[in-house]
């Protein structure tokens, strides 16, 4: 028997080491850097030396109504978008889950929104939403409904952005649920049919419970990404009008790269980080429970 070399004996460390170092250097270290900055009054533009201010940034940001609004907005945008995506996405998957002519084409079409550049998608929807020349108002007026201001108005901007997110990401849920449905075993369905269950009963008591774990994972994945939504909001409204569509991600971006108030920006980023972490723990929990 050949004696394994040093490299071979330590392959489990040597092989992943470059990737681990890379992520430690480019992700873990910056995250701690952000954490450290949140205790300082650093402002890139003031030219003043950085000093330790304890929890002052946290108190200041947490007391700001603009921050409360951003938290609330982030959560409601996320909840609304993912709710509609989950319901529509699952429904479409259940409809498409059979053999039909053009199924391959339909699945290809569903992929397209997922790979479309979000910034460009946002711009196309801005053309739809344009109050004077947009299709959205034309559709409303030809139905005899009053026209809207869409993203130009503080009350309608968030739902208008939700629509864009729902258009772009519903297919993700559909494709995941379709893959989940394809992997189900036939037996429970046959058993239900033998017992004389109606199609509706099969759907409610067999199909949906069986794909539920897949739906849940897809929903949490979407929750994480929806919390971080940046491109479409930044491209379509920049957080406006006023602050009416400013989510935590947009607010953190502005504090960092427009006002250069790094200390306070860090607090906002930590808040966003916290919500994402919460969802991530959820997904890891689901993952480990499905493995057992």
């Amino acid at each position: 028997m050949r004696q394994p070399s040093f490299v071979e004996r330590h392959l489990r460390v040597i092989f992943p080491l470059p990737a681990i170092l890379f992520i430690a250097l480019l992700m873990i270290f910056p995250i701690f850097y952000t954490l450290a900055l949140s205790f300082t009054n650093w402002n890139l533009t003031s030219g003043m030396p950085m000093s330790f201010v304890g929890l002052r940034n946290f108190f200041r940001v947490f007391a700001e109504p603009r921050f409360h609004d951003a938290v609330w907005r982030t959560l409601s945008f996320t909840f609304l978008a993912v709710f509609f995506e989950a319901v529509l996405g699952t429904a479409i998957a259940l409809i498409l889950n059979r053999a039909f002519i053009g199924k391959g084409l339909a699945k290809l079409l569903l992929l397209l929104p997922l790979v479309a550049t979000p910034v460009a998608v946002g711009i196309v929807f801005n053309l739809f939403y344009d109050p004077t020349i947009g299709l959205a108002n034309w559709a409303l007026s030809s139905l005899g409904l009053p026209q809207g201001l869409w993203v130009s108005d503080a009350t309608s901007v968030l739902p208008s952005l939700v629509i864009v997110d729902v258009w772009q990401w519903t297919p993700m849920i559909t494709l995941i649920v379709l893959a989940g449905l394809a992997g189900l075993s036939e037996e429970p369905f046959e058993a239900a049919r033998v017992d004389g269950a109606t199609p509706w009963q099969v759907l409610r008591h067999v199909t949906i419970p069986m794909v539920m774990p897949v739906i849940l994972t897809a929903v949490i994945l979407r929750l994480i990404d929806a919390l971080k939504t940046f491109d479409i909001i930044f491209a379509m409204t920049g957080g406006g009008p006023g602050y009416a569509s400013e989510t935590l991600n947009i607010m953190g971006f502005k504090y960092s790269f427009e006002y250069f108030r790094m200390g306070q920006a860090s607090v906002i980023l930590i808040a966003l980080f916290f919500f994402v972490l919460l969802c991530s723990l959820g997904i890891m929990k689901l993952r480990s429970s499905s493995e057992n």
Binding site: F15, L26, I31, L112, I123, A218, K228, F230, S256
Partner: protein
């Protein structure tokens, strides 16, 4: 029998409706890109019009569009290539030594909000005089590509029987040689999936490039975004730019459809 026919017709109508909803923004973008400004601002919106190429001529002519196109390709290509170099061995190790915690650690890079590392990067890269360089952009885009590569490839390696390396190792080959000479040549489909997906995500990335790149290394999404803010009313030009930026990702998706679906769904279904 009759009920069945009605049912079928209804079903296909629903499928067509869903397809149209998905497709409509693309079609409208495409048709607007061939319209003159007058046709675009016409009310009611025009379905029939004389197509023009002037928007494309303007986008590819006046703007430095080709440069941005090259920037996006170089940044995406390098980020994906380097992520393969780092990610393939890591994925192999995760798969063969069942390093579940390591897998989660690398997955974190996919889950965490990019802005929480972008702000420190901005400070660090400014200090190192790396702003507006390929180095900064490629490093940041690697953080997009690497988790995708590791995630997809560790699942792919799981599907390759261990016996293949083991028999080579019995014959005297080292494990690293078996990985290089036996496993990697078999991993084509997995590599295609991870390269396609990670390239598309790098190609579409907006936030990192918006902060880290300026005139020299500007990528396409930034160029398209700037096109809107400078030329607010030139919708035809903007739509042509939007078509140009989406076309490569869509073509890649059509070619590698099967792989893209797999890559996007596998994380949730089984991984």
């Amino acid at each position: 029998m009759k009920k069945n026919v009605v049912h079928e017709i209804l079903f296909y109508l629903v499928v067509i409706f869903i397809s149209l909803m998905v497709l409509f923004p693309f079609l409208w973008m495409l048709s607007s890109s061939f319209k003159t400004q007058t046709d675009i601002i016409a009310w009611p919106p025009k379905l029939l019009f004389t197509p023009t190429l002037q928007n494309y001529e303007k986008v590819f002519g006046e703007q430095d569009f080709l440069k941005y196109f090259i920037n996006s390709t170089v940044v995406g290509g390098l980020a994906v290539g380097l992520s393969l170099v780092l990610g393939l061995p890591a994925a192999y190790s995760i798969s063969r030594f069942t390093q579940r915690r390591l897998a989660l650690f690398i997955l974190l890079a996919r889950l965490m909000p990019g802005i929480s590392f972008l702000m420190p990067w901005y400070i660090i890269f400014s200090r190192l005089d790396l702003m507006d360089t390929y180095v900064a952009l490629v490093l940041s885009h690697m953080l997009i590509a690497l988790p995708i590569v590791v995630w997809i490839m560790s699942a792919y390696f799981n599907s390759i029987p261990v016996e293949l390396e083991e028999s080579a190792m019995v014959d005297g080959a080292t494990r690293q040689y078996a990985f290089w000479a036996i496993i990697l040549p078999m991993s084509g489909p997995g590599i295609i999936t991870s390269v396609t997906l990670s390239f598309i995500f790098s190609w579409n990335n907006f936030m990192f490039s918006q902060v880290l790149s300026m005139e020299k290394t500007k990528t396409l999404p930034i160029a398209v975004y700037n096109f809107v803010s400078y030329a607010e009313v030139d919708w035809g030009g903007v739509m042509a730019a939007a078509v140009a930026i989406m076309a490569p990702a869509i073509v890649l998706t059509m070619i590698f459809q099967k792989f893209v679906v797999k890559g996007l769904t596998m994380g949730a279904v089984k991984g």
